[in-house]
Symmetry: C2
Subunit: 406 residues, 2 copies
């Protein structure tokens, strides 16, 4: 059994780095607050006897030796970055839970056959730089390191510049740390476990993701003197797209969602009809055929709206992540650990994307979910209980022990 | 006849203050660029022999003596501030046209009975600080000077601070310069004169304006893991309001318009359902009963949308300007000046608000319109011809001579 109080203590200690007034965390990837938590994490890993390295995209790897160093390490961990108005658990539980597993094994003097590697992946959230799960995507070869280094945030700062600005461009090439498999603990970020009174979600699959950048070009004109029929209003165009996206996701539901999270009017003014809007779209489904249908329906709706309103709309698919099907043996290992420990569990699909989904494309991967309050995440009010966090960390530890061999 | 080349020269000389790459002007009220054009204007007025004073809200008044100084001056002028992406003529033609009238009278050695006062009103546009036509509204007593001085822009800077930052908080109280009447020259900002091939618009009325500040409070949550039916999406709510506003304006059309020009998502992120949006609304009609109907329909639609989506929407009417009916004698004077000069003309309603609409509430006022290309305004592509600008300025001069007495 892990030390529940110690785990809870580290979660709340690190929540000071970027703490918001409403009890959440604002710790955008590669920000000053991210540097603070990274420094804390490196020190904690070193104190736990791990050999810590950082790769060229800033991901941190802490290695615990195994009896058989010819075996590839069992990877565990998650991420320490948050949304602009994020919570204290998303990513953090999985990373500090991994650290807690190491601390517990150390205290109990338990050696494993295979080494264990604790990882903090850079920019999982994807809100400062696209795509989400950026560093793990480069790790598995979906993108080159140079491509990722040149990605820009809204202010035009590149990933490379941001890494340098906090001193976290590591000296190891991406992929230097081989892993044999990866297990990630996370809050569910949805309402199912809580509603069903289950403690552990045995994650067997994950939704695929489509991310688009969009730009609407209408025509700025005077709000008072431009008759309604002559308008080419970028915001009215966006509004139709938002509602079309909502209707399309519902039509393909329940196994589909669609969201417009960002929309910025260029040079807004009260008495000017909006002329130009930049926006983003996020569509998901656990079913690849539904993802294709979402893309097709969305493009069709946008073409119709754009033609009817004589307003140009450009959309650009910037990221496509297919649905994830986790490794059956690892899924079984998670399930059996939950059973052995006496926790109630159910199989579950992840609505969110995770680094484990990327790793699953080149190695066996799996995930452990615990409930979060009202299914709320990507919100400062995100919450989870200490017993559930401890339960998930115990399941993580027992899964690792089963895979790594004692 | 005024000097068309000199007028054209001053319009294009001052267009350098805030010139944009697309040929427009960005000269927000009380900005550094506004200071530049104010300095230029004060110097030009002084060189034309005017006695220049600035009031406590930064409006500039240049007085040309009359034979009978017991008569109240005839006011002429407009504004030199622009929209964030504005044109070279909106407000500028009326202010520099007024200056051109003075220069022409000087050159011709013409004295008038009543004095003439050229005015540059502060913050006509209303995009940095609400309401529009701010200084003339204070002049006529719609707001106190202190109220206006405390209005804030999006950055939280007050009008008072902005005035001080460019050294234009004048030493004269608002209202120090009495005026007997006011005549304003302006581009039409709509498509009617051009479409009908008329040179002069004799403005007999102006639309009333309703300005609202709105705030939508939904609930931020994860774009991937929040099922569609559980969402309280602030952007989808806004989208319904935008389309409802459009439908309501069309229903009450053609004599009604409605626009949402500003909408800002708080802490936007691609994979977060928008939780909070601040927005503005602008509704207009030349008919007071239709204005009331717009307000009623809009509030009804918003209440229904808000209840159905379980998303709170607050709206706050920050400005209500009733429709304007200009002074019949002054309207006739403008019409007769156009006729005498041989320009084609028609009566017209102003779609936009103007300082003359405020002044009309306490003194006789009227306006002269000239065509602008494709009716485009509040756009960097705003355009007008030199002959039309000269024609409008001639009509302004002859109207002034008729009122002031030669
Ligand atoms: N787990 C999580 O919130 N990841 C962020 C990436 C995404 O799914 O949008
Ligand atoms: N003339 C003009 O564009 N005024 C700005 C105020 C408004 O009508 O919105």
């Amino acid at each position: 059994q892990i030390d529940s109080a110690r785990l809870w203590g580290s979660i709340h200690e690190t929540a000071q780095f970027g703490a918001t007034a409403k009890g959440g965390v604002r710790r955008l990837t590669l920000s000053a607050e991210d540097k603070q938590v990274r420094d804390w994490f490196r020190k904690a890993c070193e104190e736990a006897g791990l050999e810590v390295h950082t790769d060229a995209l800033g991901s941190q790897f802490g290695l615990r030796k195994g009896r058989d160093m010819s075996k590839p390490p069992v990877g565990i961990g998650s991420h320490l970055d948050t949304q602009p108005t994020g919570g204290k658990y998303d990513g953090i539980l999985g990373t500090l839970g991994a650290l807690e597993v190491i601390r517990t094994l150390n205290d109990a003097g338990i050696e494993t056959d295979a080494p264990i590697c604790v990882v903090n992946w850079t920019n999982e959230e994807g809100s400062r730089f696209a795509p989400a799960m950026m560093a793990s995507a480069a790790y598995v070869g979906d993108f080159t390191t140079d491509d990722i280094l040149s990605r820009k945030d809204a202010e035009g700062t590149t990933v490379g510049q941001a890494l340098d600005s906090i001193g976290y461009r590591g000296d190891k090439p991406v992929g230097f740390q081989k892993l044999g498999c990866f297990v990630e603990l996370h809050i569910e970020q949805g309402p199912i476990l809580e509603a069903e009174g289950k403690t552990i979600g045995v994650v067997d699959s994950g939704q695929g993701v489509l991310w688009y950048d969009g730009k609407i070009s209408g025509f700025e004109s005077h709000a008072g003197s431009t008759p309604m029929p002559l308008r080419r209003d970028a915001l009215a165009t966006l509004s139709e797209i938002v509602l079309a996206m909502e209707a399309i996701a519902r039509k393909h539901g329940p196994n589909a969602v669609g969201t417009i999270g960002e929309a910025v009017i260029a040079n807004p003014s009260r008495n000017v009809i909006p002329g130009e809007i930049a926006f983003t779209m996020d569509c998901r489904s656990a079913d690849g055929a539904i993802m294709d249908a979402l893309d097709r329906d969305l493009r069709g709706a946008i073409a119709e709206i754009s033609a009817r309103r004589k307003v140009e709309v450009k959309i650009d698919l910037v990221w496509r992540k297919p649905p994830t099907h986790f490794d059956p043996k690892l899924i079984a290992a998670v399930e059996s650990a939950a059973k052995t420990l006496g926790y109630s569990s159910r199989r579950i699909t992840s609505g969110a994307g995770h680094d484990a989904c990327n790793l699953n494309t080149i190695m066996p991967a799996a995930m452990v979910f615990v409930p979060c309050k009202d299914g709320i995440s990507h919100n400062e009010l995100e919450d989870a209980t200490q017993p559930d966090c401890a339960a998930g960390t115990n399941v993580l530890m027992h899964t690792v022990l089963a895979i790594a061999g004692v």
